[in-house]
């Protein structure tokens, strides 16, 4: 029960660290490096397993170990990605992080699997992968085998299939280790992105502020312990934002390679992830001087995702969802912008700002920081705009998916907001920290860079 998940974690870290060394070998603080390695390993290994499955390779229980073996061997032989100096997180921030992480970890490991989608969607998909040993099995292709979506992204089921392989069987409780690990990686990316740019306790406090959002540990339907894809997507988005900020600082090629893989991982985790990734690439295109390089990265992202995209289009959705037509019907034909759009706006604003039991005061702090962040430089500007555009997209999604007519599900908005947590926390951290002499760090040595490079 412990050994299997532990071996899976080591294999994922080794795979990801090797990918990090290949794609963008700049020195990073240890926690940041491990967080990135975990998320890259998760995205890379599941995409690889999917491609193999699509090519007809049976997804045997030993395959995850075999696929990890060359990465582990290379990491042992050549070492991992370079380590940089690790600034202190700060005692108060560490204490708060431990406090806020304790509950989701305990809940994930103690409570039975409760999330609806975790059982009826990802759980059923994982069972299909484990028992049919294929991504093209009858469980995915026969509409009479499923009641809802049969063509949902597969990163989470494939990660759970890997865990089942390492454990030796499909185990409800053991797969839950994935979600607290994703939260730790998310916080590591928030801290790491800030720690390289500002000094003092603020990077740690900004990460703690994100970890303290009660939705992550207090809400049964969408939080860490629910087993939904929202937390892994939020973690991958955090890594995506950290890499995007690196790119906007120095426009070196490394971060763009990371962005291609992380963006593909986001779209392979949840359909909404595709939207966030595309928004991210569009913003990078606007803010970059080397636009050709961004287009090349976006092409790499599309190439990594193309096999999944083509495959899922061939699967018949059990419940067809023509969102564009629904949006037209709601917004134009029924005059829904006034009758449904405004009440929906009221509900989402209430859930964002007026429910401290779900969001604490995180979004108040972000709202206060956003105007200043827009003036701080390209990186913070990217983070704020990505947060705001994602919020608008989620609002339109709720409007067109018909959830506006009824009360927005108590937790829908909070769940869909999770990917915005990391960019918002990074922007917040950049604003509240005092102007420091060290931003950005020198990519070659990891040491504080020229003060002239500071975005302020």
């Amino acid at each position: 029960m412990v050994l299997g998940p532990l071996l899976w974690l080591l294999a994922t870290l080794a795979t990801g660290d090797r990918l990090l060394a290949w794609l963008d070998p700049r020195p990073r603080p240890a926690w940041y490096r491990l967080s990135l390695a975990f998320l890259l390993g998760l995205a890379g290994s599941t995409l690889l397993a999917f491609w193999l499955g699509l090519a007809g390779v049976p997804l045997k229980p030993w395959l995850p170990a075999v696929l990890a073996l060359p990465f582990v061997a290379l990491t042992l032989a050549k070492g991992g990605s370079p380590a940089g100096p690790s600034p202190a997180v700060g005692r108060l921030a560490l204490l708060l992080l431990a406090l806020f992480l304790a509950l989701p970890v305990a809940r994930s490991l103690w409570e039975p699997l409760k999330g609806w989608d975790a059982r009826t969607l990802y759980g059923v998909y994982t069972a299909n992968l484990v028992h049919e040993e294929s991504v093209r099995g009858e469980g995915f292709s026969d509409p009479t085998r499923a009641l809802s979506h049969a063509n949902y992204p597969l990163l989470l089921p494939l990660a759970q299939w890997q865990l089942a392989g390492w454990i030796g069987r499909m185990e409800d409780q053991a797969v839950m280790v994935l979600f607290p690990l994703c939260e730790v990686a998310l916080l590591g990316c928030v801290w790491g992105a800030l720690a390289g740019r500002v000094e003092g306790p603020w990077p740690g406090l900004a990460a703690a502020c994100a970890a303290g959002v009660p939705f992550l540990y207090a809400v049964p339907d969408g939080g860490v312990a629910s087993g939904y894809a929202d937390v892994p997507l939020a973690a991958l988005t955090a890594a995506f934002c950290a890499a995007a900020w690196d790119w906007l600082d120095d426009e070196a090629d490394g971060p763009l390679r990371l962005l291609a893989l992380l963006g593909a991982g986001m779209a392979f985790t949840k359909r909404g992830g595709l939207l966030v990734a595309l928004t991210g690439f569009a913003l990078l295109l606007v803010f970059s001087r080397r636009r050709g390089a961004v287009v090349a990265a976006a092409a790499g992202f599309a190439a990594l995702l193309a096999p999944w995209w083509l495959h899922q289009r061939a699967l018949t959705p059990v419940a067809p969802q023509n969102y564009a037509a629904r949006l037209y019907t709601v917004a134009v034909q029924r005059g829904g912008l006034a009758t449904e759009g405004l009440p929906l706006l009221g509900r989402v604003l209430r859930q964002t700002f007026l429910l401290p039991g779900q969001q604490a005061l995180f979004w108040w702090a972000f709202a206060a920081a956003a105007p200043s962040a827009l003036r701080l430089g390209r990186g913070p500007r990217f983070l704020v705009l990505l947060t705001l555009l994602t919020a608008v997209s989620v609002y339109l999604f709720l409007l067109r998916s018909g959830q506006a007519a009824e009360a927005v599900n108590e937790y829908s908005w909070g769940r869909y907001m999770l990917p915005m947590l990391a960019p918002a926390a990074m922007a917040l951290g950049a604003v509240v920290s005092p102007p420091g002499p060290c931003c950005p760090r020198d990519p070659a040595s990891g040491s504080p860079g020229d003060p002239a490079g500071c975005p302020r």
Partner: protein, 206 residues
């Protein structure tokens, strides 16, 4: 000076009032959070936080700290509730905890589930039959707990009449044979959550 004192008094009152409202349930839920946030912001403005005027950095930093404080309060409450849950369920096995949750959330009994898992072989194909609007969700959930059995749904036929105990409309023989289905799980009861395994040839047909 007088303006700063007024701001401090107003901010203190707002923050204190908001903090007190955390102890009171609805209808004040929507007021307490902005009260605390606004109060702290006014206090920060009054104090200057080392700056003689309100700066966005001061405001955002104050709200960040206020958010952390709110999170600590929420965590404490949630932590106590979780510890109570652990104490209550300490003697239960993971399966018993799962069964308790299933019964609480959808009215499905763990004993029914265990009986179905004992009765239907793991390599069998199963048809789930139900006919109330609500228990479509339970049918979906059952798919997960019946793994690795292959579970099928049939939407094409007449009503199944499971609630009033009349005969059941089934898919045609060719459909059933092509999928190797020999077992059915009937979802019955007021909430449509009482599950029962029946060999397909024993299902009373229309």
């Amino acid at each position: 000076m007088r303006v700063r004192a007024a701001l401090a008094v107003l901010g203190g009152l707002l923050a204190l009032g908001g903090a007190l409202l955390f102890a009171v349930p609805s209808p004040f839920d929507d007021v307490r959070s902005p009260a605390v946030a606004g109060g702290l912001a006014l206090l920060a403005l009054a104090a200057g936080c080392g700056d003689s005027r309100l700066s966005p950095r001061n405001l955002a930093g104050t709200l960040l700290l206020a958010s952390l404080l709110t999170s600590v309060l929420v965590t404490a409450g949630e932590g106590v509730a979780f510890l109570r849950q652990v104490r209550t369920q300490a003697a239960m096995s993971p399966t018993q905890r799962r069964d308790a949750f299933l019964e609480y959330s959808v009215g499905m009994r763990g004993s029914d589930l265990a009986e179905i898992q004992r009765t239907i072989p793991e390599d069998a194909s199963v048809l789930i039959l139900w006919n109330s609007r609500r228990n479509g969700y339970v049918a979906q959930l059952l798919t997960y707990y019946l793994r690795p059995r292959r579970v099928y749904f049939w939407r094409g036929g007449p009503a199944f009449h499971l609630l009033d105990g009349r005969a059941v409309g089934l898919p045609d023989e060719a459909w059933l044979r092509s999928r190797g289905i020999r077992w059915a799980v009937l979802l019955q009861g007021r909430l449509g959550s009482r599950a029962r395994a029946v060999p397909l040839d024993e299902v009373p047909r229309l």
